[in-house]
């Protein structure tokens, strides 16, 4: 491998050269949540400098999206943040709908909100499980996974897949909820608050937990906005920025919920913010379920959603000139989508996920740009890890809630 990190030798006195101690938390490590490489410069146990190196999971989503039509790129979006994939689908669908000027029916909006909030609960449960496991509490891990299994089974009834849903499509959703799903969701929302209470009794007032998380990686509000942190990380520092309230989309304008904010900006505040968000998500799902019977019988896809699936005529074999391998095949010249650009952003469980799409009139996007929260959060690790110990670094990675598929695309 090409080595590119200059090793700086500190000169102690003219004769003796001192080399600092380097430790490489390599791409394979039990607690870096994926293939993240952290190059640490240590002095004893204190971290002097930390360089994150990403790119081990780069799959070229943005380049591939230029070869697929709009409904097919939603499949690519599942694999970005593979823990809460309904949120990614929503971001893409919103951007494409803005581009095409579609109006989504109300029932589809409610269904989308329910699925997004379920994704938020799934993500926060996994975050709590892995964060607690890294700090050492093994039992919380299994309790959280027990509840996550419940939600994943409900997802399987909704759209057939547990992890990569592709349920939200351009113009609405794939199919309607059956009564069985609604009953299960009601049961879930009844019992979930007591489960949250279970997790809190294990770690919330535990002295060791408090010692490990209070005062670790404090980020003041100004620096947090400057570094581009969003989501629960920013709200832990006291800035109440939530895309669901500032630029409402889907059915978030109709439901009531509060946005929890922290005070100090340390790891413990971020933990409390996410635990409160679990409760608020539960509340939102309940409200949306109550509103569903009003919209009974409405369609779940917009009427003028363009049929971007394989049109019939392509199925017949046609003698077409075979393009040279590697040249981007630009698609038919059907003005399906008006040329222009659109920008949409949502509040994904990890932060702000924004999609910027440029279209050239054909059925494939010209440029699809995905701004993911994990990319920005990893770039903030050197700032947060200065003068902390290695044990704190693990807590920092846990509290930033990083997924490498999200960051490397």
């Amino acid at each position: 491998m090409a080595t590119y990190l200059e090793i700086n030798k500190k000169q102690v006195n003219e004769e003796k050269w001192e080399e600092p101690f380097y430790l490489n938390m390599g791409p394979q490590h039990p607690s870096t949540h994926g293939v993240l490489r952290l190059f640490l410069e240590l002095e004893g146990e204190t971290i002097v400098n930390c360089t994150p190196i990403i790119g081990y999971l780069h799959r070229g989503v943005e380049k591939l999206a230029e070869t697929l039509n709009y409904n097919q790129t939603i499949v690519l979006s599942d694999r970005l943040d593979y823990i809460a994939s309904a949120a990614n689908n929503t971001a893409f669908a919103l951007a494409f709908e803005k581009l095409m000027g579609l109006e989504v029916p109300r029932r589809a909006k409610l269904l989308r909100t329910i699925v997004c909030e379920m994704a938020r609960i799934c993500n926060h449960l996994l975050w709590l499980a892995t964060h607690a496991l890294d700090i050492g509490a093994m039992t919380v891990f299994l309790y959280c996974f027990r509840d996550r299994e419940w939600l994943l089974n409900i997802y399987e009834k909704i759209c057939g897949a547990r992890l990569t849903h592709t349920y939200v499509r351009v113009g609405g959703v794939r199919q309607d909820f059956t009564q069985e799903i609604i009953d299960e969701l009601y049961k879930f929302t009844e019992e979930f608050p007591s489960r949250i209470y279970d997790y809190e009794t294990l770690i919330d007032v535990n002295r060791i937990w408090l010692k490990r998380t209070k005062g670790v990686a404090v980020v003041p509000a100004e620096d947090a906005i400057n570094l581009g942190l969003t989501g629960p990380v920013l709200r832990g520092s006291g800035v109440p920025y939530d895309v669901r309230k500032f630029r409402p989309y889907d059915a978030y304008g109709e439901v009531e919920f509060i946005v929890p904010t922290g005070k100090n900006g340390d790891t413990y505040d971020r933990y409390r913010v996410r635990m409160e968000e679990l409760r608020q998500s539960n509340r939102i799902i309940r409200q949306c379920l109550d509103k569903l019977p009003e919209t009974q019988g409405e369609p779940v896809v917009a009427e003028n959603a363009p049929d971007l699936l394989m049109p019939e005529k392509i199925r017949k074999p046609e003698p077409k000139p075979v393009p040279k391998k590697g040249v981007i095949f630009k698609g038919e010249e059907i003005p399906v989508v008006p040329p222009g650009e659109a920008f949409a952003s949502i509040e994904s469980p990890k932060g702000e996920l924004a999609v910027y799409v440029v279209s050239d009139g054909s059925n494939k996007p010209w440029r699809l740009r995905v701004r993911t929260p994990s990319f920005v959060h990893i770039s903030a690790i050197p700032y947060m890890a200065k003068n902390h110990l290695i044990a704190d670094l693990i807590a920092i990675i846990g509290t930033l809630d990083i997924v490498l598929g999200d960051s490397d695309r």
Partner: protein, 323 residues
């Protein structure tokens, strides 16, 4: 003379085998108990209810490839696990199991066990140094500092017991407990008991003090480069340490083999009950608590446990003076 030697050899071998079985089944018990606390089942495939799991583990580890990484310090690399095992396991010979049975009844039994636990720190340091790896090195450094600090707290706790009993001989300590309420030293020495249990957990590198071998941070710390049988020896050494420390706590604080009523034909019944209860406490703590950070761990040892131990020593001396 020859008879005594043969008797001694046979009892030693039998006790060793029983202790090894205990240690092996302790790993099984730990997995089962932690699993039940986490709402899952634990090993239940190998043998009826999973009871042959430790034997399966041992066979697997015996047949694995023994990797020796490049650039290690070969003699130290080979010897380090055995130092840990021997120092942890020799303590079994000194614990009195029932009134007439202890393999070696030396007059400085308690001091000998403390010395052995100090020696076991060598195994950790040497293995951390000899593996040519930064993670192992860091783990070894942390472990050595931790073991040395918590030994002082442990010795202070045990000194209070010695003051009350008036002897370092383990048999005499158990016999001297008859004068206390309920025939155990727990009531007058409750502070020393807690100090001892916490230091014992720290000595064996168990959660919440298991930073030297924290798997999520240091990828198994000081024995990361060991594979197959050598890893098994380190693993066994850790559980042996747990058993010896619990046995020591039972002897010094909980009254050894003394119980409310005599069980015929099984003179070590109460000893085993108390030992199993303490081992259960170890496992329970592992399932519940998160891990301490390194500087907080050292702070706890030096700033909290040692002063408490010293205060307890003074109080015990006062008690002995008055009564």
């Amino acid at each position: 003379m020859l008879e005594k030697l043969i008797y001694f050899l046979i009892t030693a071998v039998i006790l060793l085998v029983i202790a090894l079985l205990h240690v092996a089944y302790l790993t099984y018990a730990e997995r089962k108990i932690i699993a039940r606390m986490q709402q899952r089942l634990g090993p239940n495939r190998v043998g009826p209810r999973g009871l042959l799991q430790p034997i399966a583990d041992m066979l697997k580890l015996l047949t694995k490839e023994d990797l020796v990484p490049y650039g290690v310090d070969k003699p130290i690399f080979y010897i380090a696990p055995f130092i840990s095992l021997v120092c942890a396991g020799t303590g079994v010979a000194l614990i009195p199991l029932w009134e007439k049975f202890v393999i070696s009844n030396i007059n400085v039994g308690l001091l000998f066990i403390l010395a052995l636990s100090s020696l076991s720190a060598y195994g950790v340091i040497l293995s951390g140094w000899a593996s040519n790896s930064r993670y192992a090195f860091l783990g070894g450094l942390r472990a050595s500092a931790q073991v040395i600090s918590y030994e002082i707290a442990m010795s202070l706790a045990l000194l209070s017991v010695v003051l009350m009993a008036g002897s370092l001989n383990l048999m005499d300590i158990v016999k001297a407990q008859i004068n206390s309420p309920y025939k155990i030293y727990l009531i007058p020495q409750i502070i020393a008991f807690y100090v001892f249990i916490i230091s014992a957990i720290a000595e064996c590198n168990r959660v919440p003090f298991d930073l030297p071998e924290a798997e999520t941070e240091l990828v198994a710390g000081y024995f990361v480069e060991y594979s197959a049988m050598r890893f098994a020896i380190f693993y066994l050494a850790e559980y042996f340490g747990m058993v010896v420390m619990s046995a020591l706590a039972v002897t010094c604080f909980l009254g050894g083999w003394v119980g409310p009523f005599e069980v015929p034909y099984v003179p070590f019944f109460w000893f085993l009950i108390k030992l199993y209860f303490l081992l259960f406490v170890y496992i329970w703590v592992r399932a519940t608590l998160p891990r301490y950070r390194y500087d907080q761990l050292m702070g706890l040892g030096w700033k909290v446990l040692i002063p408490v131990g010293i205060i307890n020593l003074f109080l015990t001396a006062l008690l002995k003076l008055i009564f």
